[in-house]
């Protein structure tokens, strides 16, 4: 019998083989032991251009290419290392100061160790992605060194050594090896030259101490940055490191309760005693948060600072339900942090309490009200936060609170702690240490939150950069884009390289034998035209209609063939998929695709030939579809109409040419289609839409107009919907698992409860919500004969009760869940705007594969990848909408600057110390606080059952929900910030 034992000594490959054993726990709480092989080798290059030895044996890819070496021959020098230096940062350096590494003026020639990269990925996925994109940037010269695979730098975990200690040791080992290796490399070139110094950066004291003991050059981030040029600016970007915090004497007082351990929370959530959800803060009351969990139909309320326990809006948190006697109704008060805690001292002092006296009073009034009234059936369960699963902190834009600055002299370089008030009211003030407080006053500033410890009332953050003067157009626009995470940098070269080399001279090839014509139908003789908003340059869609001999009509929707130019997975496609959508601001458009494509080559401009993706239907005169067909095509648009222009053309009886007749046919059919859709229960919702008219020369906002809806708008819309639905059916049929569709879930009944109740009480109207049809019908009955706007107001409010529509991958939902509630369609996708939406581009690719025009890219076969794409574009879509709205809001504010006007408004919401008024003329919505109505603040009683606020004392008035009020609109400059704000006053 032969033994299975084998001796490693005789095995020639043994010395370069190791294995990695580690334990991980799965989501379900199971512990798994994972064993991995590691092949240790000696040919992993150092990637320094100084080293010729590594270059000769660097790994090659299948085509025998070697990756270019990254680290510069002549790196920047420092005071202590005039010959130049390479930096090797430890994990904590990246975690705490990624912003710093992204600065363009410093941190070049950085070696990212594999150990560090892995740890960063472990700690934070977003930071990992940022680090990866740094390694791809050519001028930053970041190199990932796979130290764990190089036999000289591989470190075995010793018995009893913690994994952190082992990783620290691996980092030091790599630093040491690099030093020696470069020394050798440089000596081979010339005897006298000095090799670049290898500098280790770490904020871990222990690691620093050990490194110094091993005679390595190691600095803490702060020390290193102090030695650089423009150190003061960079120093502000360093997190209040652990170093600094450790240095502080232990504080006796803790303001917030400790979080539960992760395992305790997970077991709690599993057992149903705790709940997990996303923390949302009310925009009217910063002390009131809510979290929606699956176990409860209604959202859980989280009241007060102590209960919300350091959670910031957007975090994934775990909550514990409070006992029933503490359940409350949602707040009826407007509480703004700015006004309540105006005089806080930004320096941490011992006298600080978690809840300030003012806050306590504000909350107490709440409690009184709850106890004094019969609130049965109204109260919502309340909860407190016991832990945070995932922080969703991002960078926040805000301004420095003037009151918190001690010396505002610009020259003063003294470090001081100031408060940053974020633009987003739901985010608490952020404590920032800076040396340039004087300079930053009155500027828009970008910061990030670093931590929020138990002993600090406010989160602690650091300065990232200044965007410019408050209220300047540039700063405000950039602030908006940052706040909504819109990618607005110019397209990088790699993206522009993907454009056709002909540039603007590109034409549809004249010869029909050209490969571009393969599989395309020649539709150049059709009378196609486009109808868009005035001034539209990225024309996605064009239409045509013509009668058929059998009495039916042929209708065609032609969409720009973007997928012909943007091939899957190239740099342009990746950029587009990241951007997800074009963002429209009042004075600016941030494109998803480079201008050349969006406004020229893809855009279905009139009088020129363009590639298109066409959907052709045969439709009866009653607007029933006989058959539909999809094809890639070449078209020539005859005219590009603006909505109004098209309307005039239709109405003008003297125009009898075929093109006009075609549009009239389209109009006739679209009305029938619309009727059908409405009968099926499609909702006609409303959102306040206004348009800012700009002065043509200065592009300063001049006036605000409410957008008009013309028949031609709905003409285009109807056919786009029809095309989207037809395409959705087709791609779902071809790819039942991976079709990219769009759904709109039915809202849960509870969403409408409040509105239904308000209508019932105030107007005796019934809002039925059992189906979209019922909602549509009952919304139609919500009219006030004396007030035409009332119906729109209700529609606006109803829209806010809806869920938001989302993109999804068909394999992830049951067919019944595909439904688009608002459009009352079984299935839906986005197909008609590929220039400005990435989802449409993907739908184009899927449709092209479904009609066997081309092969489907593998990324569109993978459910996991599509899910990732959907997730991203859903977020981008929402952000783009919000950014657009915020931009309109800003410009409305600018347009009203210095003016005072009286307008009609409607009461939308009532609080005990104020109410919210919506002004249709400008589409603005703003809270009027009683405190601002008269001095001293008038008394008030709120009749919550009947939604009536009675004001007495210094001013007498009665305000009801839905009531029409006259308001005076003016703008005021806020003292603390110097920022202009729209203010409404009751007349």
């Amino acid at each position: 019998m032969t033994s299975l034992k084998r001796s490693y000594v005789t095995d020639s490959s043994a010395p370069n083989l190791s294995s990695k054993v580690y334990v991980r726990s799965t989501r379900s709480g199971k512990v798994q032991k994972i064993v991995r092989e590691l092949y240790l080798r000696q040919d992993i290059p150092c990637s320094s251009k100084l080293c010729s030895k590594c270059l000769s044996r660097a790994p090659t890819d299948y085509n025998n290419r070697v990756l270019p070496f990254v680290l510069s021959e002549r790196p920047e020098g420092t005071k202590s290392a005039p010959q130049g230096h390479y930096v090797i940062p430890d994990t904590n350096a990246f975690i705490s100061a990624m912003d710093l590494f992204e600065v363009e003026s410093a941190f070049h020639d950085v070696i990212v160790l594999q150990t560090v990269l892995e740890e960063v990925k472990n700690r934070s996925l977003p930071l990992y992605h940022r680090l990866i994109s740094l390694t791809k940037s050519e001028d930053k010269r970041f190199y990932v060194f796979f130290n764990e695979f190089r036999s000289e730098t591989y470190v075995n975990r010793e018995h009893g050594e913690s994994i952190n200690d082992r990783n620290d040791r691996a980092v030091r080992m790599a630093v040491k090896w690099y030093g020696e290796h470069l020394q050798e490399a440089v000596r081979m070139r010339s005897k006298s030259a000095k090799a670049p110094m290898i500098v280790m950066l770490s904020d871990d004291r222990d690691n620093l101490r050990k490194a110094k003991a091993e005679k390595l050059v190691a600095y803490s981030l702060r020390d290193y940055v102090s030695g650089l040029e423009n150190a003061t600016l960079l120093l502000d970007m360093i997190t209040e490191g652990q170093e600094a915090r450790q240095g502080k004497p232990e504080k006796s007082e803790m303001f917030y309760p400790e979080y539960y351990s992760l395992s305790k929370m997970l077991t709690g959530v599993k057992a149903g005693t705790m709940h997990q959800g996303i923390f949302n803060v009310s925009p009217y009351n910063y002390l009131e948060g809510s979290v929606h969990v699956s176990a409860f139909e209604r959202s859980l309320l989280i009241l007060g600072r102590e209960n919300s326990n350091r959670a910031v809006s957007g975090d994934v948190i775990v909550v514990e339900i409070l006992s029933k006697d503490q359940w409350k109704t949602p707040s009826t008060k407007i509480i703004e942090e700015e006004t309540v805690n105006k005089d806080d001292n930004p320096d941490e002092e011992d006298g600080e309490a978690v809840i300030t006296e003012r806050e306590r009073r504000a909350l107490q009034e709440e409690v009184k009200r709850v106890h004094s009234k019969n609130v049965e059936g109204r109260s919502q369960p309340t909860a407190r936060v016991v832990g945070v699963i995932k922080r969703n902190w991002r960078q926040y834009v805000g301004h420095i609170d003037r009151g918190s600055v001690k010396t505002s002299a610009k020259q003063s370089r003294a470090q001081q702690t100031v408060f940053l008030v974020p633009m987003d009211k739901r985010i608490p003030k952020i404590r920032v240490r800076t040396r340039q407080a004087g300079e930053l006053l009155g500027k828009r500033v970008l910061v990030t939150i670093d931590s929020w410890d138990r002993d600090s009332r406010y989160p602690v953050g650091h300065f990232v950069r200044s965007l410019g003067e408050l209220e300047s157009k540039e700063a405000e626009t950039e602030a908006l884009l940052l706040e909504y995470d819109v990618q607005y940098r110019p397209f990088p070269k790699t993206v522009l390289d993907c454009l056709p080399s002909e540039g603007h001279d590109w034409k549809v090839p004249a010869s029909v034998d050209d490969p571009g014509w393969k599989g395309r139908r020649d539709l150049r003789d059709l009378l196609v035209c486009s109808i868009d908003p005035p001034g539209c340059v990225d024309i996605d869609d064009a239409l045509h209609a013509r009668p058929l001999p059998n009495g039916n009509f042929e209708v065609g929707v032609h969409i720009a063939d973007v997928s012909h130019f943007v091939k899957p997975n190239n740099a342009m496609d990746k950029e587009a998929s990241m951007r997800g959508t074009t963002v429209y601001l009042v004075d600016k458009r941030i494109d998803m695709l480079p201008m050349l494509l969006g406004t020229d080559l893809c855009s279905l401009k009139p009088y020129v030939e363009r590639y298109a993706f066409s959907v052709l239907w045969e439709i009866t005169a009653d607007a029933d579809i006989v058959k539909s067909e999809f094809t890639k095509s070449v078209i020539r648009s005859r005219e590009a109409f603006a909505y109004e222009q098209a309307q005039i053309r239709i109405d003008d009886k003297s125009q009898q040419d075929d093109l006009t007749k075609g549009i009239r046919t389209l109009m006739m059919l679209s009305k029938k289609l619309n009727k059908k859709r409405m009968d099926a229960g499609a909702l006609n919702l409303a959102s306040p839409e206004v348009r800012v008219e700009a002065e043509s020369e200065t592009s300063d906002p001049a006036d605000v107009k409410v957008k008009k809806m013309l028949d031609t708008n709905s003409l285009v819309e109807e056919f786009m919907l029809l095309a989207n639905i037809s395409v959705a059916r087709k791609i779902y049929e071809a790819f039942p698992q991976t079709a990219l569709l769009r759904r709109h879930a039915a809202p849960p009944k509870t969403n409408f409860e409040e509105l239904a109740n308000q209508l019932q009480v105030k107007r005796g109207l019934e809002l039925r919500t059992d189906s979209s049809k019922a909602v549509a019908d009952s919304l139609d009955t919500c009219v006030d004969p004396s007030e035409p706007f009332f119906n729109t107001l209700i529609r606006i409010m109803a829209t806010r009760c809806m869920m938001s529509a989302e993109y999804f991958c068909s394999g992830t939902q049951a067919y019944s869940e595909f439904r688009h509630y608002g459009l009352a369609s079984e299935i839906y996708t986005h197909f008609t705007s590929p220039i400005r939406r990435y989802a449409d581009l993907e739908a184009h690719r899927q449709l092209a594969a479904a009609i066997e025009y081309e092969q489907l890219d593998p990324s569109l076969h993978s459910k996991a990848k599509l899910e990732g794409i959907c997730k991203n574009i859903n977020v981008r879509h929402r952000n783009a909408q919000m950014a657009g709205r915020a931009s309109v809001e800003y410009y409305v504010g600018q347009a009203l600057k210095g003016r005072v006007c009286d307008e009609e408004g409607f009461v939308m919401k009532i609080f005990s110390n104020g109410f919210v008024v919506f002004v249709p003329k400008f589409g603005i919505e703003s809270a009027i606080k009683l405190r601002d109505l008269a001095v001293p603040e008038p008394e008030s009683t709120l009749d919550y059952e009947n939604y009536i606020l009675t004001i007495s004392g210094s001013k007498n008035a009665k305000v009801e929900l839905f009531q029409k009020v006259k308001v005076r609109i003016s703008d005021v400059q806020e003292e603390s910030t110097g920022k202009r704000k729209i203010k409404l006053g009751l007349l």
Binding site: M1, T2, L4, R6, D11, S13, L17, S19, K30, Q32, K33, I34, V35, R36, E37, L38, Y39, L40, R41, I44, P59, T60, D61, Y62, N63, L67, Q114, L117, E118, K121, N122, L125, I132, T135, V144, F146, E148, F149, P568, N569, N570, Q855, D857, P858, H861, S862
Partner: protein
Amino acid sequence: MPLDTSTYALSLLRLDGRRWNELRRIHAQISTQAAADGSAYLEMGNTKVICTVSGPSEGRRGQGQGGEGGKARIEVEVNLAGFAGVERKKRARGDRRIAELQHTLTQAYTSTLLTHLYPHSTILITLHILSLDGSLLAATLNAATLALIDAGIPMSNYLVACTAGSTSFEESDNADPLLDLNGQEEQELPFVTVGILGDGDKVSVLVMESRVQMSRLETMLVVAVDGCKRVREILDGVVREHGRNMVEGAVG
């Protein structure tokens, strides 16, 4: 979180430190089980397989006594140890994946072995998978080949197998093929298992269960076939070494 296959582009190194064209360590022994007619033990990286062969022998009763048409009948039994994977799992007898594996192996050897020499008899190949880390089909094929050689059952040449994958995240024009995938790579990337007979380019087993672009398939096949040839040399070395030992043993 450990890194994933997307880091390949950063350094042209795979998750375990190999380059694209490197095999994992292969270790093999034959005649490990004296009681069996033929046996072998094979490791490809952390995938570990024991194979025993019994027969050619009279078929089990009630099963039609051997093959039809004057050929031997090949039976394959695959046994996946509960401790082979990451999680301890007891697999049901009728596990589909195992059944498919058995079927593939049966097909492969029915056409490779000179079965006409043994009419009315059965050759039973039993495989025990002790540890699982990717390239399972390839490892079982290689182990079975060794065990069949040990059993002295005539076949026209070595049937050796190997996997090849493709780095799917890259642009389609410069995706690298990868040789001999480990478990993690198999989960993330498309791959194909190729078995060839002898040292020519004759493919006798080809299994692919993932989607991959047509344009990449050819390079994957080339790389896999090349890998198979290298595997064959290693196995051949094992067989010759064993033969030498036997001869020396017999003389000495």
